[in-house]
Amino acid sequence: MPDTVTFVVNGEERSLEVQGRTLLVHALRDGLRLTGTHIGCDTSQCGACTVLLDGRAVKSCTVLAAQADSREVTTIEGLAADGELHPIQRAFVEHHGLQCGFCTPGVILTAADLLSRGGSPSDDEIRHALRGNLCRCTGYQGIVESIKAVGTAL
């Protein structure tokens, strides 16, 4: 039995039919063709599917699409504005915060949540916040440097 989910995705109201079991990540990727949200482990470990739900980082493989009804979702596609990269995205380019890029959308949205809580997070706070995001190529040094650079600049 399909349910209709209506939610605001990247600032735009969207509606789609989902099943009770449909996961948010599948609604975003298959339903809305927002494929910047990646599926990595599919077991709530790796954080590649992280999106913002009402401004807070969540793993979209571990949320039912129906639970996002009438809420706001931000995916990596929603960060850049008017052709300009978001400051976090720019910092990842400048500080070598990515290599293959697969984990990057999730890492950046986790960073967006962390930085929205105010202040300039320390290395330890950044690493603690990134615990649910696995990077298997670059290592975390460049990622931490990138996030720290934004924290200092904001």
């Binding site: 099943q19 009770g20 980082a57």
Partner: protein
């Protein structure tokens, strides 16, 4: 991984939620951080998922010397709560900071963790040490249980199929008390191999352990040597017993230090 077919219903209030749970294979979902993973593994195959996440059962308040923690309070809320920011209750946010990761803490709830009853979950140990009680509602009855009496075994609680946790009541320890939680985590799962919660103050000292038995439990006066402690592939019973003794001392030391700061 995709869960087995299921229907979804969003509860508008507590009575609505309880009536939806009349369906035999219905399951309540709050943050979903334990339930959705087991649904994806198809260990859980509910016919109906009752979304209780928007019920008004969220937040921390103090009334008449007791703390009331709404079961839908997320770990992130717990960490940010001003009510919990005192030495006597410091173990609660301290424990919450180590649960899962940022994303899991944004959705996962304290009530969901208790109801899921993972034998290695962290917070039940802290709540046991503090002497917490649970308020439960079913369509016909209201009752209150000590947390210690509600935890029956691995993933097993005294909650009936049509019963919901509506309040977690924590007596605030007397002035001059402190509490602490320390754990050694399994590096892959993040769950506690052993976790120890301690409360120390004029009311005496209490320790509760998690990760070592069928449920988290309060350590009796006979100490760790007399406790029933299990072993598995990751850590033998002997190793766990040793670790439990070290972590108990650390938790007590930290709780005593905090007690001395609670003037």
């Amino acid at each position: 991984m995709i869960p087995a077919s299921t229907r979804y219903a969003r509860a508008t209030d507590l009575e609505h939620a309880l009536s939806l749970l009349a369906e035999p294979e219905a399951k309540a979902i709050a943050g979903g951080q334990s339930l959705i993973p087991v649904m994806k593994l198809r260990i859980a195959r509910p016919s109906l998922v009752v979304d209780i996440s928007r019920l008004d059962l969220r937040g921390v308040t103090e009334r008449d010397g007791e703390l009331h923690i709404g079961p839908l309070t997320t770990w992130s809320d717990v960490i940010g709560s001003d009510e919990l920011d005192r030495p006597a209750l410091a173990a609660i946010p301290e424990c919450a900071r180590g649960i899962g990761d940022l994303q899991v803490r944004n959705l996962g709830t304290i009530g969901g963790s208790i109801a899921h009853a993972d034998p290695a979950s962290d917070m039940p140990a802290v709540l046991l040490a503090l002497g917490a009680r649970l308020r439960l509602r079913s369509p016909e009855t209201k009752r209150e249980l000590r947390l210690a009496d509600a935890l029956l075994g691995p993933f097993l609680t005294a909650l009936g199929p049509q019963e919901l946790l509506t309040d977690i009541v924590v007596p605030v320890p007397t002035r001059g008390s402190g509490s602490a939680y320390v754990s050694v985590e399994h590096p892959a799962s993040g769950f506690a191999v052993v976790g120890a919660a301690a409360v120390a103050g004029p009311g005496g000292e209490t320790v509760a352990l998690t990760g070592v038995g069928a449920t988290p439990f309060v350590l009796s006066g006979d100490g760790i040597a007399a406790a029933d402690i299990f072993g598995d592939t990751f850590a033998s019973a002997e190793y766990r017993r040793d670790l439990a003794s070290v972590l108990t001392e650390r938790a007590l030391a930290s709780a005593r230090t905090r007690a001395s700061e609670d003037s």
